[in-house]
Amino acid sequence: MDRSFRRTFGQLQSVFEFTNEFTQIHAISERVRYVLDLAVEELFTNMVKYNPSGKGDIHMHLSFDKKEVLVQITDPDSDPFDVSKQRSVDLKRSLEERKPGGLGIYLVQKLVENLQYEHQNRTSIISFRLPLE
């Protein structure tokens, strides 16, 4: 399944309608749906936040086989930002020192499998897999 979304947080509802349609068609478990929604939200909002005036919509492709969900998110106008690269998020800091920055990408890295990033001609392509249990 494929769909494109404008670069605004207001599109999140449409993004979730898209993932909901996909998970219902394939009878995907609640747990996998949660991780799919979380990963897609974190990556989509990251693209919107750091390049709100970029040209072109953000495109999502979801596919399914019996063992896993495959996700690809494409931003056609972006500076390189490798979301698969490990970044320093110090989770052991005290409450006073903790900051939410970077947490979303960290969670994506923890929760999905085979997270990959490509950047060419200003186009970023992020892909990952979600095993079905």
């Binding site: 947080f9 207001g10 999140l12 509802q13 979730f16 609640e30 747990r31 949660y34 929604d37 979380l38 939200e41 974190e42 909002t45 989770l91 052991k92 409450l95 006073e96 903790r98 939410p100 947490l103 979303g104 960290y106 969670l107 923890k110 929760l111």
Partner: protein
């Protein structure tokens, strides 16, 4: 659909989905909390890092006056997110 309300006892009840498009609404209500309070997650289906950030900011503000949030009735999926983010070290989760 995300809803947040404060009960007569001063506790917070969350329901629906707390995503990045809902943080202003959550922050506006949580900003009214000035005492230690329970936050009931029973009807909350989903939270992302944006929602975690709102709770973190509230916990930081309350801690300056020795107050804190206690999170209750969390689903397994949400509890897992708190665990991966190590937010279970910052909040008391019942």
């Amino acid at each position: 659909m995300f809803e947040i309300k404060i009960t007569d006892q001063g506790d917070v009840v969350l329901s629906g989905r707390l995503d990045a498009a809902q943080t202003d609404k959550a922050m506006e209500v949580l900003g009214r909390i000035n005492e230690s309070a329970k936050v009931d997650f029973k009807e909350l289906q989903y939270i992302s890092s944006a929602g975690l950030g709102v709770l973190l900011a509230t916990q930081k503000r309350l801690s300056q006056s020795g107050k804190r949030l206690k999170l209750i009735n969390m689903s397994k999926h949400i509890r897992d997110v708190f665990h991966f983010a190590r937010f279970d070290m910052i909040f008391e989760i019942e």
